[in-house]
């Protein structure tokens, strides 16, 4: 139900956000998205605050707003889903510009659109200001299981290699003339994908040999842990804290 980013989103700049340790940014992202999702849908001003905070963070990161907006394009499929809601929703209906729309559907569309966009924007910003190896390192420092981090490390390292091979296969098939009917299309792609899996597996065996050759005995070596300062946490968590305040305020004020 979504489009695909297949290239890493990182954009090199010199900024406060780029310099923050990655685990601070990951925690900040999770907290910010949590605040957005927890915000009751009718509190429009809270979403305004969230949007302003996000734009502020984008500017602080010295990332061009257009860079972020272009990468929001993958959300088009779920925006379309959201747009359908007022038409297929049930319950009470209200006329909008002459068309009778479902009230709960309108609320649903709003919720999906605003929370989805804010969440996606925040995710894109985090990835744009943090290099992939640093993201993995941050997850490791956040105590994610070491097996998961190790697998993710290899995955990320070889994604470009394998995606590249898949693309070359597709180009080669297109050059030989694709059969447009979908069954005809699927078979050659699938056989090529099967060969690709075998090649990937055999590469995995060679990688293991290379690891053995450099002294690997079953445990990935531990590289030193970088500590973060309280100031860095304060800076990083400033935005999500404000987002949570605006999420909680409606309940407090009632």
């Amino acid at each position: 139900m979504s489009g695909f980013h297949t290239h890493a989103l990182y954009r090199h700049e010199h900024s406060v956000l780029h310099d923050l340790p990655s685990q601070v940014k990951i925690v900040a992202l999770v907290l910010f998205v949590g605040a957005v999702v927890a915000t009751p849908r009718e509190v429009f001003w809270a979403f305004g605050v969230d949007g302003a905070l996000l734009i502020g963070a984008v500017l602080l990161a010295r990332i061009p707003v257009g860079f972020i907006v272009r990468r929001l394009v993958i959300e088009i499929p779920f925006v379309l889903f959201a747009v359908l809601m007022p038409f297929i929703g049930t319950g009470e209906r209200t006329p909008v510009l002459g068309v009778s729309l479902s009230v709960s559907g309108l609320w649903g569309a709003w919720t999906i659109f605003v929370k989805g966009t804010l969440g996606l924007g925040a995710s894109v910003l985090m990835a744009a200001t943090t290099e992939v190896p640093d993201i993995l390192e941050g997850l490791e420092r956040l105590r994610l299981p070491r097996l998961v981090i190790a697998i993710a490390g290899f995955m990320v390292r070889y994604i470009d290699v394998i995606v590249g091979e898949l693309r070359r296969m597709r180009i080669a098939m297109t050059a030989r003339g694709y059969d447009p009917s979908w069954i005809g299309q699927a078979r050659p792609i699938a056989t090529s994908a099967g060969s690709l899996f075998v090649r990937s597996y055999e590469r995995g065996e060679r990688v293991h040999r290379a690891m053995l050759s450099r002294g690997y005995t079953g445990a990935m070596p531990v590289f030193e842990r970088v500590t973060t300062t309280p100031q860095q946490w304060l800076v990083g968590l400033g935005i999500p804290v404000l987002a949570w305040l605006s999420a909680i305020a409606p309940w407090v004020m009632r």
Partner: protein, 321 residues
Amino acid sequence: MHIPDGFINGTTSLGAGIAAAGGIGAALRQAGKKLADRHIPLAGLAAAFIFAAQMINFPVAAGTSGHLIGGSLAAVLLGPWLASVVMAVVVGVQALIFADGGVSALGLNIINMAIIAPWSAWLIYKGLRAFLPRTQRVVAISAGIAAAFSVEVAALGFVAEYAIGGTGGAPVSTVLIAMGGVHALIGIGEGFITGVIVATVLAARPDIVTGATDLLDTSGAQPRRIGRFILAGVGAALLVAAFLSPFANSNPDGLERVAEDKGFIDTAQTSPIDGQSPFAGYGFGGDGAIATAVAGVLGVAVTFGIGYGIVRISKRVKTPR
């Protein structure tokens, strides 16, 4: 099928996150038992392959195209426990590094693509293979059929999540028909592609298909048929429950109909636990159709669990040590 933020409400997303963490934690422990250290780079490369494979798309209906999920492929190639771990890594990397799938929906996406998809595929695959001949062709076809159904089951997982905490405003029955319908077609594509991929891999390197290593076993040992029949039965029951119960006729069944006709339905006493059991009356809260399907699946699982427990206990009684 990567759910973005905002589709499912906060409490449901949080609950899903906790459930997903528990499920993947269990998978890590189980996978870790059989994992030689050489498997770690292999798992990483499998994850990279699944990521690339998810880019494969195929047309399903006018204008729409479907993508491979790959959960069933992972299950047959890596075994279900490692498949869950690998799929979870794929989904997690997609969310955090590629901003694909909402961070708040990570638990939901892991449940659907890293737990439901591989496991439903594995159960159906093992169920089919339990009573079919042991050939490469059967392995590939079973993998394909399992893949097709697992896509539908995963879609039903999403519909269940929507029924519990969806914010959309569309009625669950509409979502069920839309998602269920589209994913039935996507399942056909994924099933076919998975079958061909497994066949290709089997032909080149049969030793690397974890789900089919029994094909290499030349010792002639008889397989434990009983266990496999249980799996086959569970798999079949799950299929029936998942697909047919939403369409189960809401008209009263034979006995109730007769009772109504003869006017004695009012004298039927409600069962003592009616109203206390969460599953009393075959459904629970929420919209009728999806609740029925979920209840059906859960009912099968509970029945199986009780039945299996009875078999184990009775075996212990019969063969004292």
